[in-house]
Subunit: 413 residues, 2 copies
């Protein structure tokens, strides 16, 4: 049974999250932005919030903003708004720094919790910046760790053993959208006495991660993708409550001190998650991010994940029924439980197809060698957007215009 | 000869930088914000720039902003605008992360350039977060370094010897505004074969730091104080050109990779200063900061430093001539070459005086035990502001209202 454009209009008509899309600005020129994996859409309230922060806060309060406003509590306050999206306990998430910096902190923190072990397990398919962070952290630690990178496609679970200190993985593969089973892999790490450290960037805000239920030890993630925190938004980090007071902070700055404004010369870590903070919070960037997190706070996240799953299945169905033409395959797993936030389509034209698709009013993204990524947001994408995007892809390929498209290696996140 | 209020009006009338103040919003209620050491004033252009970034960039370009806009070049572009303010060579400064994170990076990077040495020299009077970073970095390095903290007031120069890997100091004492002689201390470090790493936070944008002429090896600093980058603005870091390709980055993330978008699995540091970058730049915060840096770019910085010196001398003169009353002393050095961005006044009432002063329309700041800080900006402060602030302080003290002021430990930056 073929899914038609009218079917998609009908799906939208009965979508319980349809009203949420109204909280985001709609592109005026009809462009479909399948960019949820890169820069999530802007909440309508963001410009007004930022202007208010600037005029009332920066201009009106100035330094008094630190004490009379909510600037210094932003890391915890926003962290508690991220928590339900990733299935975390209140008080177990802070927003701060970048994903890479947070990974560095928690990786070294975790290694010090397993001082007799000398292996970090990850995989070659991990996001490169995560691998770079591991390599750099290991260098700081005199390269005393073995960084065991499982070949793409081989079993990570088998690589974990009783020398493994940390299993550090990205939940979702940034090329294929393959999603690990967080529960199973974390259980496997624990069976061997290792800690599990997850990068949730391409999962959180699209699919369930359930860090508490899945017994995840440590996690980090990106604020500007599915969370819609704005370009270069602060990242977040999670530490399981049972570990918070055992893990020693690595980047020990004043915001992680037990008594910041006593100005002791000796560092004493704050209790709980706060010790993972280091420098002054990015107040302006946090205000933009909070606009998005307040949209999340009003949602039933389970419903959001169900919608994402339906959008993602719709891409697969439409491609399978030939709407994009015969040359397009699905590069992502067929089981939606094994897919992350985007659906990877495969076409040998790669970046040129993405460029031509952009001209045709669909913003997607490319990752080598042949992955055309459709990043789907349960907050602002409609079923009709998915239909039209796949149809436009079919048009681009059928017309052959993509062969004239200027190929350039995409320098984009 | 007594300086009068009319004299101050005359100083303003012939101030060559008077026009620069018009680039900043003037407080509507007559409050005088002596907060340049905490949150510099907002440039008038900041709200419009941020709104444009949100509407044209986040909303209009979305993920294409990474490739079609100037988002990814922000760390270098803004760094090159900070460079003249600190006297650095073009291509030797990037903005990124926080001051504390940048200090961590450069401290460990520097220690690895002096592998046979085991001492870090600093002083107890250093900013506590800087000391915490040193302690935390040393813990990561198995506490193999001796952190030699010179007692306040004793000679740092004598503490440096041929076991010293790094001399790491804040240019300006955050309580007294005592300013180190960067040239002399750096020379002393070099005589012993050590590297000099400076935190410029309470100096840059107020007084000359001349990192290139002073042969400084490494420096970090805060974006939101005298630079006026906005609350929680990105910080900056400096690496002398001769060291840039020798120093190994510590927080090795994709933005510091030689070929970020080739997605190699092995980290290869970018040439030059870029290797010090780690995660995705904070695009929104950078846009606010650039509003201020573009004000700096139009200035003769030497003229700005001359004005700051005149403002700072005016505080001292007015206090010396009794305008603040007999109980107020100057806690900063009398030689302006030995003072940083603020002038510390001493009064036993401490935070209560600062609280009462706030009620009287002067926002200053307190640091224990008795330092009332007047943070002076050459960009937006007028001579008459200084006169009125000192006079209001005199009024507050003479009336005794400060004794009723609610004392609370200031939780403010």
């Amino acid at each position: 049974m073929t899914v038609t454009r009218d079917d998609c209009l009908a799906f939208d008509a009965k979508d319980p999250l349809a009203a949420v899309a109204a909280e985001f600005e709609v592109p005026k020129d009809g462009t479909i932005y399948l960019d949820a994996n890169s820069v999530g859409a802007m909440p309508r309230s963001a410009p007004e919030r930022l202007t208010r922060l600037l005029l009332d806060g920066w201009h009106g309060l100035r330094r008094r903003g630190w004490s009379e406003s909510d600037w210094l509590s932003a890391p915890r306050r926003l962290g508690d708004k991220v928590a339900p999206v990733i299935g975390a306990e209140p008080g177990s998430v802070v927003i701060c720094d970048t994903t890479s910096v947070n990974l560095y902190k928690l990786l070294i923190g975790a290694l010090r919790l397993r001082p007799d072990r000398r292996t970090i397990v990850s995989e070659r398919a991990n996001f490169p910046s995560d691998l770079y962070v591991m390599q750099g952290a290991n260098a700081v630690l005199d390269n005393r760790y073995r960084l065991k990178l499982v070949e793409d496609g081989k079993s990570v679970a088998e690589a974990v053993d009783d020398d493994t200190a940390v299993l550090a993985l990205s939940t979702v593969d940034f090329r294929s959208s393959f999603r690990h089973d967080i529960a199973a892999m974390t259980r496997r790490a624990h069976e061997c006495g290792a800690l599990a450290l997850w990068d949730l960037s391409h999962a959180a805000g699209a699919v369930p991660t359930n860090v508490a239920d899945n017994r995840v030890d440590l996690a980090v993630g990106c604020g500007y993708k599915y969370l819609c925190g704005g370009p270069g938004a602060p990242a977040y980090l999670y530490v399981a409550p049972a570990l918070q007071d055992d893990i020693q902070p690595v980047l020990t700055g004043w915001m992680g001190h037990a008594a910041t404004f006593e100005f002791d010369i000796e560092y004493r870590p704050a209790p709980g998650i706060d010790r993972q903070l280091c420098g002054t919070p990015s107040v302006i960037a946090s205000a933009a991010m909070e606009a998005a997190l307040d949209v999340w706070a009003k949602l039933d996240v389970a419903r959001a994940f169900a919608k994402h799953r339906a959008l993602s299945e719709l891409v697969v169905t439409l491609v399978d029924q030939g709407l994009a033409g015969p040359e397009v395959g699905i590069g992502s797993p067929s089981d939606p439980d094994s897919r992350g936030g985007f659906v990877a389509l495969r076409h040998a034209g790669g970046a040129a197809v993405v460029a031509a698709l952009g001209e045709a009013g669909v913003v997607a993204s490319f990752r080598p060698p042949d992955s055309v990524r459709f990043g789907l947001s349960p907050l602002y994408h409609r079923y009709i957007d998915v239909y039209d995007a796949v149809e436009r892809l079919g048009g681009v390929l059928q017309s052959g215009v993509w062969k004239e498209a200027r190929y350039s290696r995409e320098k984009a996140i």
